[in-house]
C-alpha cells in the first residue's frame, strides 16, 4: 500500500514538472537567435487575417517568430495578465472605456517618440486620447475604425426618389415619405438591449462636444438637475430625437433581436437600420447583392455641423516593459505599413487609420470616407460613461416607456452614486 502511494506522488510530481515546463517554455526565447513574440489578439473574426500577416512578416524577418493568442473575453484576460505582470509583447484590444482605464494606469508602452505615430490620422488618436492615456504619454495606436451611422438601402432610396438627409427636418421628412409609400423606415430590435445604444451614442454626441465629460467628471457626486452640466440639462433634446426615430419602427420592435434586424434589412423589408458599419458584414452574409451605405445622424440644422461617430475597433499597443521591445516595434511598424493595413481593413470592412491608406471601394465605406478625410469624427459617448452604470438598460427602458425625464434623472443619479463610491487610489 505504501509503495503505490509513493508511486502516485512521484507520478503527480512528474506531472507537475511537465506542466510547469510547458507553462514556462511559452515564455522562454528560442536558443537559435530567434525571438518569440507573444501577440495577444482579441478579435475572433480577424484570426485568419492576422495569421496571413504573421506568415508574411516572418518570411521577411526570419529572426522573429510571432505567436498569435486569440482569446475570448479579452478584456478580462488582459487584466489578469497585467495583474500577474505577464503583459504580452504586442497587444490588440477594442478601444472601449476599459482600454482607457488600463492605459491611464500606465501598463502600456509610451509611443510618443515612435515614428509610426506620425503616420496615423490625428482625429483617430484624439479619440483614443479622450478614452485615457497615462499623463503626457500616448499608450495606444489606432489601427482600424468603425463608423456609427444610419445604414440605408440605396435601392429603396433610389426607387422612392429620396436623397440622403442632411438636416434633422430632412431626416424626418424621409421617414414620413417612406411610411407614406408603405415602407417601414427602421427595423427596431430592442430585445437586445444594446441595440438602443448606437442611436443614443450618435445623437448624444452633439450635446456632449467640448469639455462636457471633463466637467461631468469634475462635478462627480454633485451631478444633478442643478449642476452646470448634467444629463437632465443637456440631453433632453437628444432623447426626444431618439424617441422620435423609434416611432418609425415596425410593429413588435420590442421583441426582435439584432439578428432579426439584419435579416429584415438584408431582405429589403425596411429602408434603414439604426446600426453601424459592423452590421454590414452580417447583412451581406444574408444578401451579398444588397447596396447599403451609411450616413451620419443629421441631428442638426446646419449640414456642415454633422459629425460621424467613430470608434477605434482595433487598437495596437504593447506591454510597458516587454523584454523584446525592439522586435515588438518592428512587428508593429509592419502592421501599420500601408499595404498591410489596407488589406486588413478591407477584409474586416473597417476604415484604416494610416494617412494615405485607401479605403476599400465598398459603398458603405466610401460613404463615410469624407468624414475621416476631414477629421469630422467623434468618439462613442458610452465609453465616457462608467461601465458600472447600466446605460444600455436605462436607454432600453426609456425607449419602452418614453419617459425621458425619468431616464435622464436615473443617469444623473447613477453618475453621482458611482462618483461617490469611486474612491481614488492615493499615492502612497
Amino acid at each position: 500500500m505504501r509503495l503505490t502511494h509513493r508511486r502516485n506522488t512521484r507520478a503527480i510530481g512528474v506531472l507537475a514538472l511537465v506542466s510547469a515546463a510547458i507553462v514556462l517554455g511559452g515564455c522562454a526565447s528560442d536558443p537559435g537567435g530567434v525571438t518569440t513574440l507573444n501577440f495577444f489578439q482579441f478579435k475572433g473574426e480577424a484570426l485568419e487575417d492576422f495569421n496571413e500577416i504573421i506568415a508574411d512578416f516572418e518570411a521577411e524577418n526570419p529572426d522573429i517568430r510571432v505567436v498569435q493568442n486569440q482569446v475570448a473575453d479579452a478584456d478580462t484576460i488582459i487584466r489578469t495578465l497585467l495583474v500577474k505582470d505577464k503583459a504580452p509583447d504586442v497587444i490588440t484590444l477594442n478601444a472601449n472605456g476599459g482600454f482607457g482605464k488600463l492605459a491611464q494606469s500606465g501598463v502600456f508602452y509610451d509611443f510618443s517618440d515612435e515614428p509610426v505615430l506620425q503616420t496615423i490620422n490625428p482625429a483617430v488618436q484624439e479619440i483614443l486620447a479622450q478614452l485615457g492615456n497615462k499623463e503626457g504619454e500616448v499608450n495606444g495606436l489606432g489601427y482600424v475604425n468603425n463608423a456609427n451611422g444610419v445604414i440605408y438601402n440605396q435601392e429603396i432610396f433610389e426607387e422612392q426618389g429620396l436623397e440622403v438627409p442632411e438636416t434633422w427636418d430632412e431626416f424626418i421628412a424621409v421617414c414620413d415619405a417612406l411610411q407614406d409609400a408603405g415602407i417601414t423606415p427602421f427595423y427596431g430590435t430592442l430585445a437586445d438591449s444594446w441595440t438602443g445604444l448606437p442611436s443614443f451614442n450618435a445623437l448624444g454626441a452633439y450635446p456632449s462636444q467640448g469639455d462636457f465629460w471633463d466637467e461631468m467628471r469634475a462635478e462627480g457626486e454633485n451631478v444633478g438637475p442643478d449642476s452646470p452640466v448634467s444629463f437632465q440639462k443637456d440631453f433632453a433634446e437628444a432623447m426626444d430625437q431618439q424617441y422620435e426615430l423609434f416611432s418609425y419602427m415596425q410593429d413588435g420592435y420590442r421583441g426582435k433581436t439584432y439578428d432579426d434586424g439584419n435579416a429584415a434589412f438584408a431582405n429589403g423589408e425596411v429602408a434603414m437600420l439604426l446600426q453601424g458599419i459592423w452590421a454590414i458584414n452580417p447583412v451581406k452574409a444574408i444578401n451579398p447583392d444588397i447596396q447599403a451605405a451609411i450616413f451620419p445622424y443629421p441631428a442638426v440644422d446646419d449640414p456642415d455641423d454633422r459629425l460621424l461617430v467613430s470608434g477605434v475597433d482595433v487598437v495596437v499597443t504593447m506591454g510597458e516593459n516587454t523584454p523584446h521591445k525592439e522586435e515588438a516595434l518592428r512587428f508593429i511598424d509592419y502592421l501599420f505599413e500601408v499595404g498591410v493595413i489596407e488589406d486588413f481593413a478591407a477584409s474586416q470592412n473597417m476604415v484604416p487609420s494610416v494617412q494615405g491608406a485607401e479605403i476599400s471601394d465598398d459603398p458603405s465605406l466610401q460613404s463615410v470616407k469624407p468624414y475621416f478625410d476631414e477629421g469630422r469624427i467623434t468618439g462613442f459617448i458610452d465609453h465616457q460613461i462608467p461601465p458600472s452604470i447600466p446605460l444600455a438598460a436605462i436607454d432600453q427602458q426609456f425607449l419602452f416607456s418614453g419617459d425621458a425625464q425619468a431616464a435622464l434623472a436615473t443617469l444623473d443619479s447613477e453618475w453621482a452614486k458611482v462618483a461617490a463610491r469611486t474612491i481614488p487610489v492615493n499615492g502612497d
Binding site: 430585445a191 462608467p386 447613477e414
Partner: protein, 312 residues
C-alpha cells in the same frame, strides 16, 4: 450535488445512525492511519480552493481595488455605499420574489410528480428517467431553446394574447415569470429524485393499514406520506430557496437582466458590476453581504421546518 446528498442523509437518518456510529468508534481503539491520508487532501484542497479565496475576497471588500492596478484600504465605505444603492436594493427585491415563487412551485410540482412516479404505473423506470433529463442538460443550452420558444414560437402560437404576442421576455412586468418557468422546469428534476427516495422509505404496511381503516387518499397523504417525508421536504425547500436566491444562468440565457434592469438578480449584479463594471471591491462587499443573508435565511428555514418534522 454531493453536498445535497450528504445533507439529505444527515437530516433524514436521524438519531439512530449517530448512536450506532459512536458505538463502533468506541470498539476500535484508533482509526487507521490510512483514514487520515484520505481526509487530509480533501481538507487541504477545500481550504486552498474555497476558504482561502473567501477570506481574500472579504479582505478586498475593504479596499478600492478595481481588479487591477493599485489599491488602498477604505474601511467600511463599500458597505455603506451598498445600502444607498437603489440598484442593489432592487436586485435583492427581485432575487427574493423570484426565489420564493420558484421554491413554492418547484416543491409543489415535484412532490406531485414524485407521488405519481412512486405509484404502480406502467414503464415506471422509463418515466423516472424522462423526468430526470432536464437536470442533465446544460441550463445555458436549454435556456437558448427556451428563449427561442418565448420570443419566436409563443408569439405565433398565442398571437391573440398581447402579453405573449409581444414577446414576454421584453415585458418589464412579466419577464420574471418566464425565468421562473425555465428555472422550475429544471430544478424539479432533482427535487423529484429527493422526494422519490423519501417516498421509498415509507413502509407499505402503513398504507395497507390505513386503507383497511377506510382512510381516503388525501387523508393518507396528509397523515402518512407528508409527515414521514418531512425531512426530505425540509432539505428540498432549503436547497431550492438557496439555489434560487443565487439564480444566474437562466437569467443570462433568457433576458440578461432586462428589459431595463427589471430581472437583475444579486448574482448577476455582482458579476456584471464586478467584472465588466470595474467595481471589483464594491461588488465583493455585495457578495459578502449576500453570503451572510443566504446563511441566515437557510439557518432560519432549518429551524422552522425541522420543528414540524415528524419524529420517527
Amino acid at each position: 450535488m454531493t453536498t445535497m446528498t450528504e445533507a439529505v442523509r444527515a437530516s433524514s437518518t436521524g438519531g439512530t445512525a449517530r448512536k450506532r456510529a459512536s458505538r463502533t468508534r468506541s470498539d476500535a481503539s484508533r482509526a487507521m492511519p490510512a483514514f487520515y491520508w484520505m481526509v487530509w487532501p480533501a481538507v487541504i484542497a477545500f481550504a486552498l480552493f474555497h476558504t482561502l479565496p473567501v477570506v481574500i475576497g472579504i479582505f478586498f471588500s475593504f479596499t478600492n481595488y478595481a481588479g487591477y492596478g493599485d489599491w488602498n484600504f477604505i474601511g467600511l465605505s463599500n458597505y455603506i455605499n451598498l445600502f444607498k444603492d437603489s440598484r442593489v436594493l432592487q436586485a435583492y427585491g427581485f432575487s427574493f420574489l423570484f426565489a420564493i415563487v420558484a421554491t413554492i412551485l418547484t416543491n409543489a410540482i415535484s412532490l406531485a410528480i414524485a407521488l405519481g412516479l412512486n405509484a404502480k404505473i406502467k414503464a415506471r423506470n422509463f418515466w423516472r428517467g424522462v423526468y430526470f433529463v432536464p437536470y442533465i442538460l446544460a441550463i445555458l443550452v436549454i435556456g437558448y431553446v427556451f428563449q427561442f420558444f418565448f420570443s419566436n414560437s409563443l408569439p405565433k402560437i398565442l398571437a391573440g394574447i398581447p402579453l405573449f404576442a409581444d414577446n414576454i421576455l421584453t415585458n418589464e412586468t412579466w419577464a420574471w415569470t418566464a425565468i421562473v418557468a425555465l428555472a422550475v422546469w429544471q430544478a424539479c428534476a432533482f427535487a423529484i429524485i429527493i422526494y422519490l427516495s423519501g417516498l421509498q422509505t415509507i413502509p407499505t404496511e402503513l398504507y395497507e393499514a390505513a386503507s383497511l381503516d377506510g382512510a381516503s387518499p388525501w387523508r393518507q397523504f396528509s397523515s402518512i406520506t407528508f409527515p414521514l417525508i418531512g425531512a426530505f421536504f425540509t432539505i428540498n425547500v432549503v436547497l431550492s430557496l438557496k439555489g434560487f436566491l443565487q439564480v444566474f444562468d437562466p437569467i443570462v440565457a433568457l433576458t440578461n437582466g432586462g428589459p431595463g434592469t427589471a430581472t437583475e438578480s444579486v448574482t448577476l449584479l455582482i458579476f456584471r458590476g464586478g467584472f465588466s463594471g470595474g467595481e471589483f471591491a464594491y461588488q465583493t462587499a455585495n457578495a459578502v453581504i449576500f453570503f451572510i443573508v443566504i446563511t441566515i435565511v437557510s439557518l432560519f428555514q432549518f429551524r422552522v421546518l425541522q420543528r414540524r418534522e415528524a419524529d420517527f
